[in-house]
Symmetry: C2
């Protein structure tokens, strides 16, 4: 009474999975069993073919990595320690088996980088590839760092890259494959793993991961915290690779940095008397009021990514 | 800097959500924060348009209910107390807004029935509707009931309906809408909420929810527990509605009962000296050996559902 295809595939994906002490029971039963220290955090995200990625722009290994990275990033942004993910994958039955194998390898690679266990999942057929990852983490007694805690007088600091992913997407859209480091960043962001926790322990008052673009995401912090935020553009350095894309396209570097999404850097607010952790750089300040400004002025460009507004 | 469509939609879906004490922080931040008593369980499942449902066969309210029910059922099957779900929904941008509204209402209705909180989610556009629900629960000090604990001498007992969903699907496939109770059961199964926990406390040695069909799912128990299981067909009663479908189609009632999937009844094994809880009925027995038999014989029909084998 054992059917074949689906279960063989799952066996291949889950073979010899390493599990840490958080995982009491991994894949293979109706549900996984996890042991969390303190309160847990949970977040879920979709990656849809043709919306979030194209198969010819993102190889399966990179896509598997990205599916993990963008979700674990949300766990980091709460100040939690990421522990576990479940992965649901729907794909056309005609998809080559090597695609699945390489996607799975990417998932497992990024799990190792992020320090999380793959504890369960689901497979289905569908017309297009749809990936849904749910990531979990433990707070270990630390209070969660929400979007609502920024206070007038706080500074705003960032850890990670800004604008690389959207510059990489621009490269791909124009049919090119370099600068390679930007294309790779679009295919899978370099999430600053562990830094969400570091920021929480340093006293971050609010935190987010930059998925919609820096200004859009700071807009969420400003609304939730009922404060105004100003971004100081002199804080940013433009890397050579981004500068080359700007020179080739005529697009301004600040557009990539301020409104490019999908970098999954972390942005946090800290009290003025706190030095941000190593590797974080100050990009702005919080004051009474509302809205987000750039060098004291409203930003005139478009800001952020909305699947249904465009 | 606030984009419109996606965020308005989310606000509509999450407005005035009730949250129990398990939920420290609900929807609206990078991740939800939950307080679990004891170890937690987590499970994820996809519902794909054209694979798991058709829009013209399952109205959006019923589909929203089903997406919750089939996932919470897996939490029940571990003997845990379901607490929380996150819902990811991808849908065509041309889909009527009333579909989303009614789907969301169904999600919230079933959450109330199941006693779980909707704590987060994600929305995306896509060519077809894809739903991914992740459900969580707490074990409150109880050991999880896995598939691997059945022992020779145990009895096998079921709580819930068997064959109703697949009989309802047969009705829909033939272009009919009645018997109504079977069609409704296909559109959203009646999960015996709370009974997984009751069975665990009564000493269930192994448990599953019947999603692939009774024989297929008992096959998983037999393999995991390294035992043989025999099903006694005299245990089953055929309801009038299923009998009417059998009369109209010439299909045997036992086929629906033994191999029909998606009913999400609970099946558990109990030590011989334990009386199954109220409402559970004994359907078979566990012995040394391997495989699943029906009245002592191999089952000749097809067994179970596999997305990739058919």
């Amino acid at each position: 009474v054992t059917p074949s295809g689906e279960f063989d595939l799952i066996r291949g994906i889950t073979a010899d999975l390493e599990q840490s002490a958080t995982t009491i029971l991994g894949p293979g039963d109706d549900a996984a069993v996890l042991r969390m220290q303190g309160d847990m955090v949970v977040t879920t995200d979709l990656l849809v073919e043709g919306v979030h990625f194209r198969r010819n722009w993102t190889p399966p290994h990179q896509l598997g990595r990205k599916a993990v990275a963008v979700n674990v990033s949300d766990v980091e942004a709460m100040g939690a320690v990421p522990t576990s993910i479940v992965v649901a994958l729907a794909f056309p039955s005609a998809l080559e088996e090597t695609w699945i194998t390489q996607f799975s390898a990417g998932v497992r690679d990024e799990c190792a980088r992020a320090g999380v266990n793959l504890v369960g999942g689901d497979l289905s057929s569908s017309d297009h590839i749809v990936i849904c990852v749910t990531a979990m983490g433990e707070l270990q007694g630390q209070a969660p760092v929400t979007r609502a805690g920024a206070r007038p007088g706080d500074i705003v600091a960032v850890r990670g890259r800004l604008g690389w992913s959207s510059a990489g997407l621009t490269v791909l859209q124009r049919g090119f494959g370099s600068p390679k480091e930007l294309v790779l960043e679009h295919q899978c962001p370099t999430v600053p793993y562990g830094q969400g926790r570091v920021a929480a322990e340093r006293g971050a008052t609010a935190m987010m991961d930059v998925s919609d673009g820096l200004l859009a995401d700071l807009g969420h912090v400003a609304v939730s915290s009922r404060v105004a935020i100003d971004v100081d553009t002199s804080s940013f350095t433009v890397t050579d690779a981004v500068a080359r894309v700007c020179a080739a396209t005529g697009k301004p570097a600040l557009g990539f940095i301020l409104t490019g999404g999908e970098d999954h850097a972390l942005v946090a607010t800290f009290p003025l008397d706190v030095t941000p952790p190593d590797g974080w750089y100050t990009v702005g300040s919080v004051s009474d009021g509302e809205g987000v400004t750039v060098d004291g002025q409203p930003w005139e460009g478009t800001a952020g990514w909305d699947h249904f507004a465009r």
